[in-house]
């Protein structure tokens, strides 16, 4: 790998475009498309009694009004349940437009198409929907109590119940010298990307084909879903993810009702149709996450070593389960972090509530699991009077125990086997970075000045790069430039740069000769999607594989041209040359030309490949047996199972004795995601994750009242941190390559957010002298907690 792009903190290729206002996000397209707005339910649970549109028919700009009754065939069926699971005995998904019942505030009831969004909203204002309001089920307690049902045919509001057990955890705990029980509570939050969802559809009647642009994390799968829902041959449907303004999980769900309806309306009306989600719609009609209640029972020895861990938790899955039970499964399996639990039993119930549906948000159930495990570690340390870091170290899986098999099934249906990681080394780095051992003297100093400070830490392990597969296509053009395509999408992770680095390295071409396309079904037909920190692992390795095939073919053709053994050739800066004999070389561009024997020339370069231009062996066919014309190849990567990244965070906080305001003084991160392709991008991913961790721990919550009204459905009241709320983040890296893939890489996308709640709970508990068991925590929460814990610091 002569150009050595791998591991370099290269400035991103996509940035100049985005910085100069030339990005192409969903609403930057379809300037002349019709606008769409929806009449959405103001009630959390109700029957739709009547829809009266008479008052709306005269509105200027009205094009069409659609209700459920206008839908037919597959379109009138519930939307797909994307990930079925045997434990999901009562999966339910919504209709594209409410059929006769609405199950959360914001559920779409009527679709309006008009000359633009302004007019569409004018129409919505004049449509009268009569509801028979039903009792709403809000919150996990109400769902468990099941005095009322979200879905009449789902007893106990129970969507799924699942138990996994390794060893006899309960017996192990009963026999343990020490036993603790914890009740923990995590509230709802959400991805809230700065760009909401959006769909823009064009129907080409002459070609009988549909092109849909959608702000999604899974364009290829949207294509399959649309073809099925709209009864179209898949090859008549093109789906493109343009620039996507952040996803963080919410855009992996598909097809959203709007994706299906806008496409259908474009076909029905024979017009370009566009829907752009506004901020309020995003709050009440996309997806949330995080809401879980945990009961932990743990048994441990005098040294704080786990003997048995028994976790029961209740997961609020909202009104529908289109994404199955991935989130609680991830919680159940990733809760264990870097520790050996002894015997482990985990049981969860996934419950329906009359709230916005719940699907993965960056971290996808891990922050809750990490919170439960790390609160438990702190509780053990407190119980035994041990150092919190010490207790964790004693329970670490040792490097020499890798690969480590937990004996559980992970979210990909594969065994939960950690491939690599050096947790003790990570902990050493973290303690050094934050100054763990020197903190007590700092605390004493601060106390002198009447200041109240605390330190906390948290560890996690994240399964990344789950299958089933991704693919990559690489082609060297006649001018020597390299085009790369992969099916998964990008939402700011810098794929155009990282993937180009990989291809450039393998092919030995300058980085600026490589261009990458993602998430466009016209350019690559097979893909899964961008989620679970998998893009680099999956597409990165697939692109590397494709590039290696192209390289071999290039060397083979160049070998013939140079009359040299391909094994003696190397490619440096786009030139194939004989090692040690720089004079004997051929441009990669020329090799590309030669790889495609031509009858017709279209330029000077191509002329060199025409039939009379090159002396060829008269006995051989121009394209050799088993060969294909062109210097291109497609490669796939399908891992046996996930690869496991890990990290450890520490935070120092100060809590105001009077106002209970919580100030973050320091935030330290040690992160290990295997081989780094672009350290700068990884660093950025960590920063962004930490900021969401800060939000999830101290600011962001979805406040529902008992009737299922979301009370803070705006950026004024849903407190996403500004720059002034996020601390400077100090980072250190460990590189423990994954043995599972050729690049040795692991995912990094979600990591930063995972330990946020756990580390702040740990630090605030340390400052206040009593355990924090509920997240997020606001100053007023802390203020009231103090009142109930007079024993706390003062």
């Amino acid at each position: 790998m002569t150009t050595a792009m791998m591991g370099e903190p290269i400035a991103r290729r996509e940035d100049p475009r985005l910085l100069s206002g030339k990005g192409r996000f969903l609403d930057d397209l379809g300037r002349y498309a019709l606008g769409v707005a929806f009449v959405r339910s103001p009630h959390a649970h109700a029957r739709v009694v009547d829809i009266d549109v008479t008052g709306a028919l005269e509105v200027q700009g009205l094009v069409a009004i659609y209700t459920y009754d206008d839908l037919a065939g597959p379109l009138a069926e519930p939307l797909p349940l994307l990930i079925p699971h045997p434990a999901l005995t009562h999966g339910r998904t919504p209709y594209a437009l409410a059929k006769d019942e609405v199950n959360h505030v914001g559920e779409a009831v009527v679709m309006v198409v008009a000359s633009d969004r302004y007019a569409a909203e004018d129409v919505c204002d004049r449509i009268r929907v009569t509801y028979e309001v039903l009792t709403a089920v809000v919150g996990i307690e109400a769902a468990r109590e099941a005095a009322h049902l979200v879905h009449d045919d789902v007893p106990g509001n129970l969507a799924a119940h699942m138990v996994q057990e390794v060893g006899d955890a309960r017996a192990a705990i009963d026999a343990a010298p020490h036993v603790l029980e914890l009740d923990l509570d995590v509230e709802r939050s959400a991805s809230t990307p700065l760009e909401g969802k959006g769909v823009y559809a064009r129907w080409d009647a002459d070609d009988a084909s549909l092109r849909v642009y959608t702000s999604t994390q899974a364009s290829t799968s949207v294509r399959a879903a649309l073809a099925a829902k709209l009864d179209l041959p898949p090859d008549r449907v093109e789906v493109v993810a343009p620039d996507v303004g952040g996803g963080f999980g919410v855009k992996i769900v598909h097809p959203w009702p709007e994706e299906v309806l806008v496409s259908w309306a474009a076909i029905t009306l024979g017009r370009e149709v566009k829907w752009v989600e506004d901020r309020r719609e995003h709050f009440v009609s996309s997806a949330h996450e995080r809401g879980q209640l945990h009961h932990v029972r743990v048994g441990f020895d005098d040294d704080g070593r786990l003997l048995g861990l028994d976790v029961t938790f209740w997961h609020d899955n909202g009104s529908y389960t289109p994404y199955g039970i991935i989130v609680p499964i991830v919680t159940a399996t990733q809760l264990l972090g870097p520790y050996k639990p002894g015997a482990y039993r985990v049981e969860f119930s996934s419950l329906y509530t009359n709230t916005v549906l719940v699907t993965p948000y960056r971290g996808a159930g891990r922050p809750q699991g990490c919170f439960a495990m790390e609160r438990t570690m702190d509780a053990i340390a407190a119980e035994l009077g041990l150092d919190r870091a010490e207790v964790r170290e004693r329970n670490f899986i040792r490097p020499e125990e890798m690969p480590y098999d937990h004996g559980l099934l992970f979210q990909d249906g594969r065994p939960l086997i950690y491939d690599s990681g050096d947790y003790p080394a990570s902990m050493e780095k973290l303690k050094k970075l934050v100054g763990w051992d020197a903190f007590e003297s700092y605390r004493a100093e601060a106390r002198e000045q009447g200041r109240r400070v605390g330190i906390g830490l948290a560890c996690y392990v994240e399964g990344t790069g789950v299958g089933p597969y991704e693919g990559g296509w690489v082609k060297v053009e006649n001018d020597g430039s390299v085009v790369v395509a992969t099916g998964l999408t990008t939402q700011g992770q810098g794929h155009q740069t990282a993937f180009a680095q990989i291809a450039a390295d393998v092919l030995g071409v300058p980085l600026d000769r490589v261009t990458v396309t993602t998430g466009d079904t016209r350019r690559f037909r097979y893909a899964v999607g961008t989620f679970a920190s998998r893009a680099l692992v999956m597409s990165g390795n697939a692109i590397a594989a494709a590039a290696r095939t192209v390289r071999e073919k290039a060397l083979r053709i160049a070998g013939e041209a140079l009359e040299a053994d391909a094994r003696d050739l190397e490619i440096v800066d786009g030139v194939v040359r004989v090692r040690g004999v720089p004079t004997s070389s051929i441009q990669l561009s020329t090799v590309a030309v030669l790889s495609n024997p031509l009858r017709y020339a279209f330029d000077a370069e191509s002329a060199r490949a025409t039939q009379f231009a090159t002396p060829a062996d008269p006995d051989k066919p121009p394209v050799a047996e088993g060969e294909e014309p062109g210097l291109e190849a497609t490669g796939y990567y399908s891992p046996p199972r996930a690869t496991f990244a890990n990290g450890m965070h520490a935070a120092i906080v100060e809590t105001d004795p009077d106002t209970a305001e919580i100030r973050i003084l320091r935030y330290c991160v040690v992160h290990d995601c295997g081989t780094l392709v672009n350290p700068r991008i990884v660093e950025g991913q960590v920063h962004g994750g930490v900021a969401q961790g800060v939000g999830g721990a101290l600011y962001e919550r979805m406040v529902y009242d008992s009737a299922g009204q979301l009370l803070n459905a705006s950026f004024m009241d849903f407190l996403m941190p500004y720059s002034t709320e996020v601390p400077t983040i100090e980072t250190d890296h460990l590189e423990t390559p994954s043995p599972l893939n050729p690049l040795g890489v692991k995912g990094a996308g979600e990591a930063g957010v995972i330990p946020g709640m756990a580390v702040f709970a740990s630090a605030i508990s340390d400052a206040e002298g009593f355990p924090i068991t509920r997240m997020p925590i606001s100053p007023s929460d802390l203020f009231h907690l103090r009142a109930t814990h007079p024993e706390g610091a003062s």
């Binding site: 103001p42 009630h43 505030v105 204002d125 309001v133 309020r280 709050f283 009440v284 009242d705 009737a707 009204q709 979301l710 009370l711 803070n712 459905a713 705006s714 004024m716 009241d717």
Partner: protein, 210 residues
């Protein structure tokens, strides 16, 4: 949202009850009330124009009564709808003798505010609701104590009181028993709906100070 409050009306309970049952008083004291209309047994509709400053709109509130224990207490179920959202509420109302021949009225409302307004109007909701109710009761007290004659009262937070006293007879001609219970119900219905209405204005404040 819980809205609880009380008011002391400077008259004995029977006079308070009577006043609250006099349409001539009600059309002048319910904030922005246009119309009181019976739509069924123990079921009524109040049409109200209200808001804050020039931000206002027309809202209808349906009111149903139950558990009437005349003249001590009853429960009112009110549901209002207007462009910005919906409100529904259960309000328990009790009247009790207070000192010096006055009457203490307590109300305990559990209101649900839905639609756009429910999602963004929280910052001042309870305060505005209480204020709206307070305005109503002080207006009633003014009538009871003769501080106000029966001329329409001045514009309030909830906009100008409806000039449509024409609506009064609709209620007035209702059967005796309902005539006694209904207006009081409608009044508090209007108060609860008023909380919603005032929210339209609340939102001006919810947003960034200008």
């Amino acid at each position: 949202m819980k809205v609880t409050g009380s008011a002391v009306l400077h008259a004995p309970r029977d006079r308070v009850w009577a006043a609250l049952n006099d349409p001539a008083v009600l059309v002048r004291t319910i904030p922005g009330c246009h119309q009181l209309e019976q739509v069924g047994p123990d079921s009524y509709r109040a049409t109200v124009t209200a808001g804050v400053a020039s931000i206002k709109g027309m809202y209808s509130g349906d009111v149903r009564l139950s558990d009437q224990a005349e003249p001590d207490s009853f429960v009112l179920h009110a549901a209002g709808a207007g462009a910005p959202g919906t409100v529904s509420a259960d309000v328990r109302v009790t009247l009790a003798d207070a000192e010096d021949g006055a009457t203490r009225l307590d109300y305990d409302a559990d209101a649900v505010v839905g639609g756009v307004i429910g999602g963004v109007g929280q910052r001042m909701l309870a305060g505005v609701a209480k204020k709206t109710a307070g305005e109503f009761f002080s207006a009633v007290d003014d009538v009871l104590t003769g501080r106000a004659d029966l001329a329409p009262t001045a514009p309030t937070a909830a906009g100008p009181a409806g000039a449509s006293a024409a609506a009064a007879p609709v209620v007035y001609t209702a059967p005796q028993r309902q005539r006694q219970a209904v207006p009081l119900g409608v009044v508090l219905g209007a108060v609860v709906v008023g909380a919603l209405i005032a929210l339209a204005g609340v939102l001006i404040g919810w947003l960034i100070a200008s």
